[in-house]
Each structure stands twice: as C-alpha cells, then as structure tokens.
C-alpha cells in the first residue's frame, strides 16, 4: 500500500497535506482501492463556505459503493478541485497528487494532532484486516 510520508490521515481514510496555514484534503490509496472504479464525485461544499471537522465534504460513488468524505479539519474552503468531475478515475490512479479534492484554510491547528501520521495510518489499516 502506498502511504506517502508528510501526509496525515483521518480515521475515515481521508488525507491532509499541510502547506502553511492551509491544507489539501483527499482520500487515501486504501480508500480508493476499497471503492474500486470511481464513477462520480459529488462536491458538497463551495469555495468560501466554512466547514467543521467531521462534516461531509463529498460523496464518492463507484459501481459497488458510495462513500462520504468527512473533513478531518475545521476551517474555510479555499478551492474545490471540480475538474475531477470529468475524470473521476484520477482519484483511483493518483489519490495523493492530482486526486486532491479540497483546499481548506484551517482555523484549529490542534485538530492536526488528532490525525495519524503515515506509519500510524498503515498500522491502523493493518488492524482492520
């Protein structure tokens, strides 16, 4: 499984990559693998909207499942990667780079401490099998 360092992870399989006081959010390789071929992404939040930790940012649909993307952090949405709608398969192929979903300016840095680091997330995934 591909778990890059420098990324933090939420227990519901989202990743966070911090860059200054904002962060990009996406879904992990484990998640995209579970879902298999993704066919549709619904974006529930727009740029400018505020978001609370745990709120649903997106719903991702594959042929065999539909899963919610929960926000690991609270803050304000800066950007939404809407062009993914045309090519949802990018989420399967490249979940950590081009498959980013949201860019959020976070307002509560302590929430980042609640997240797994790469190693911790790997262990968490192991324990689920």
């Amino acid at each position: 499984m591909n778990t890059p360092k420098g990324f933090k992870f939420y227990k519901t399989d989202e990743w966070v990559k911090v860059d200054g006081n904002s962060a990009k959010i996406g879904i992990s390789d484990f998640a995209q693998n579970q879902l298999s071929d993704i066919v549709y992404i619904e974006f529930n939040k727009e740029a400018g909207e505020s978001v609370e930790k745990g709120q649903i940012l997106s719903t991702i649909e594959s042929v065999k499942a539909a899963a919610d993307v929960n926000s690991p952090i609270s803050g304000k949405v800066l950007e939404v990667n809407e062009c993914l709608s045309d090519t949802p398969e990018v989420l399967n192929e490249d979940p950590y780079e081009n498959g980013w979903l949201y860019k959020v300016e976070f307002n509560n840095p302590s929430e980042l401490d609640d997240l797994f680091d790469a190693k911790g997330y790997d262990e968490f995934c192991e324990s689920r099998h």
Binding site: D37, V39, Y40, E61, V63, P88
Partner: protein, 488 residues
Amino acid sequence: MSEPTVYELSSEGRFSITFPSLDIPETKIPDNLLREDVPLPELSELDVIRHFTNLSRLNYSIDEGFYPLGSCTMKYNPRINEVTARNHGFANTHPFQPVETIQGNLAVMYILQEWLKEITGFVAASLQPAAGAQGEFVGSLMINAYHKSRNDNHRTNILIPDSAHGTNPATSNMSGFDIVNIPTDNRGNINLSALTEVCNKSTAGLMLTNPNTLGLFEENVLEINDIIHKAGGLVYGDGANLNALLGIVKPGELGFDIMHINLHKTFSTPHGGGGPGSGPVVVAKHLADFLPEPIVGIIEEGDDEIPPLYGFIYPKKSIGRMKSFHGHFSIIVRALTYLLMQGKDGLLEVSNHAVLNANYLMSLLKEDYTLPFDRICMHEFVLEGFWKDIEGIHALDIAKRLMDYGFHPPTNYFPLNVKEALMIEPTETESKQTLDRFVDAMLSIAKEARETPDLLPTAPHNTPVKRLDEVKAAKDLVLCCRFSDKHE
C-alpha cells in the same frame, strides 16, 4: 448479434393496431393545446411479437432452471394462478366501483387476510403495501405512531442486526430513526449481551429477520423479544424467510408485534423480472388501529343463506394511505389460489421440504466450501465463496461460472457479515435430481478453482453476453434511446 431496440426496428408509416372509426360528431381541439409529434416507434404487430419473443429468450427464468437465490424463495410459479388472476370478473373491475358490485373482490381480500393472520399468528392485517420494502416502511411508521400515541417521544432508534437486508436500515432512515447495529455471535445468532447493552428507553424497536439471512433460526428468539418488550420497544419481523416456518411456528407466538409478508416469495406469485410483488403486513392486537387505510372487513354479518356484506374499514389511528387504491389485487388473487390448494397440510409440507432441501445441499457442499456456521439450517444457508489457499478467486467468479453450467447463481456478497458470501436457498419445489446436478456443478467449480483457475474470472462463456462493463455504464449514463436522424 444483439437484438435491436424498438426505436431501431421502427419504420416510418408502419402501424399495427387500428380502432373503430369515430361514431360521434367531432369537436375541434384548440390548436394551442396540441403537441406536434409523438416520438413513439412505428412497428407492425409481427415486429412487436418477434422483438419481445427474442428478448424473452435472452432471459434465464424459473421455468428454465434452478435459481438458488437466498432470501428470494424462487419457487415454482403455478400456472393456475395466472388463470384465476386473469378471470375477467376480477381483471375488469375498477377500484372505485360501488361496493355492492365488487363483493367477490372484497371476499378474496378478506379471505386472504384471514389466512395470513392464521398462518403467522397475528390478529389484524393490511394487504395494501405494494412490496416487502413498503411493508417494512409501514412497520416502522407504525412503531413510530404507536410510541407517539402513548406520548413516549424519546424512542429515537431502531436496533438492526448486522446481517440484515439493506432495506431494513434504509427503511429506518426513511422513518426518521437512528440505527444501532447489533453484531452476530459465532453461532450465527444475535449477540445477546450486545443487545442487552444497547436496549434502553430510547429504543423504539428491533427489526429482526427470523430465520436470519444466514438461514439460521435465532436460538434465543423468545429472550430477545422479551428484552425489547421489557425496555418498552416493539419487535418488527422481516418476513422474507417465512418459507421455513409455515406450520412450523407462528411468529406471532414468538413475541413479534408486526411482520411483513412477501407474497412473491413465500406464496408463489411471480417475480416478473423485478415486480410487481406484494407486501401485506400483519400485526398484534395493540397495533391494529394503526394499520394503513383502508383494510377489508365485514360490514354486515351473513348467515346460512346470505353471504356477509364486505366493505372497507378505516382503522382509528391509521398511519395513512401507502399508495393509491387498495393493494396489488391481482397478486392477491394468485396468492389466495395457491393457499387454497395448499391448505394447512400442504403448507407444512412446503416448509418441511424447503428445510430438507437446504440441509441436503449444505451437507453435500460443506466439505469443499467453507461453512461459516456449522449448524442445522432452515430454508437457506451461507457459504464462503473463496478459499484461503487459492488466490484471485472470489464469490463473483464462482457465481459467473455457475451460469456456464446452466444455473442462476446464488445470492452473493450478502449477508455482509460473511466474507465473499454465497447464500443458497433451493425452495421445496426443486427435486433431488436438480439438487444433485447443482452439487455436481459446485464441486466441479471447486475443482476448477484449483486446477484450471482461468475458467472462473473469465466466466461466463456460454451466455448471450459476457461480463458487462458496469463502470462504462455508470460513467456514460446512456439511459434511453431516441430516434436516430435517419428516422426523421
């Protein structure tokens, strides 16, 4: 060659059905109301007969072969049902006709209500729900209404076992309840201590399928229902698996408060390629007033000379109407025909043989397939569709390969608490010969999985189409066809 669509077969100017010429003076229709064109195909009657005949031949069906679909009860659909349902005296009656002109219909409905109540051990019934899922919805709305009527407004959640059918949590959600999951223990029963822990004053009820989707009878059913009742909740029985219990036990005597019944499963009415079904609901005394309206009752008692006068009754605290009109009447006619022929003796034989057939198959398959719960099963059982020592073979592959042997696959990937589940329900209408052939096929596939594994992931090979690209379907979303340019 695939069969063209009706739009592709269409030929401009062709027609089939004619009508008598108009026998009355005509009124002009205002131009501004008229549509320009009706984009429907133009076909001859032979075109239509051939087209749909050819389509039908692409289908597998019970008439063709065995359908061991767990929790679907794919038993034989008797032909006599089709004859009685088509009697013009039934088929040509309008739902709003004056009651004195449709006493026959009301009698049919009343009699079926009585049979269903007696079989299941309940006191009141509604035949209105259109399908099992709608019956479930009725159940959860009634639970809600019951608690509210007693000013018990804190009952916010429904307990649902993790083996439950997907409609159970979906229904609870539709009814405004939160869902609390109850795990299954290693004997395939509900985990009793987990249940006791979560059951409290905010429990509106429990949705319980018995036998459960593992095909196992809840060994602690009396205790489970008691726990719920002591906490003030109600127990809803999902009647999908009733085929195991006819004449064996009455759910109403086990502590269930409400149950839905699937006429298209237990009582032989056809599946029709996905409907129409019928999902009557039966209830205990304390819930009778909440049934959907209307139900059928006797308005005036009869005597030796005169039959009773039947009519519609509106339960005092009804949750309301679930759909237009009275229920799926022609399905009700079929179910009653079946019940009359079975009688109380026949019904017992149905369950006896449904359970015999399932245990027979289980005994023959448990050596070569993993049986997660090694207990006597009811009318169905679950196997794991994979082998720990063979990589790359999944339940899906076994299912697809079975089609090459001329069988419809069992239910797969359900229930969720068994990995790569294969749920097998033979029903009582299958002979030992059919079951033996099915076992041979399953054992052959198990052998192939070891020796010639390529045959499985590439299956099916002998069907009208091979595996279909579901990702393409979901992405392209081509959901209808229209006339192509050349038909203009």
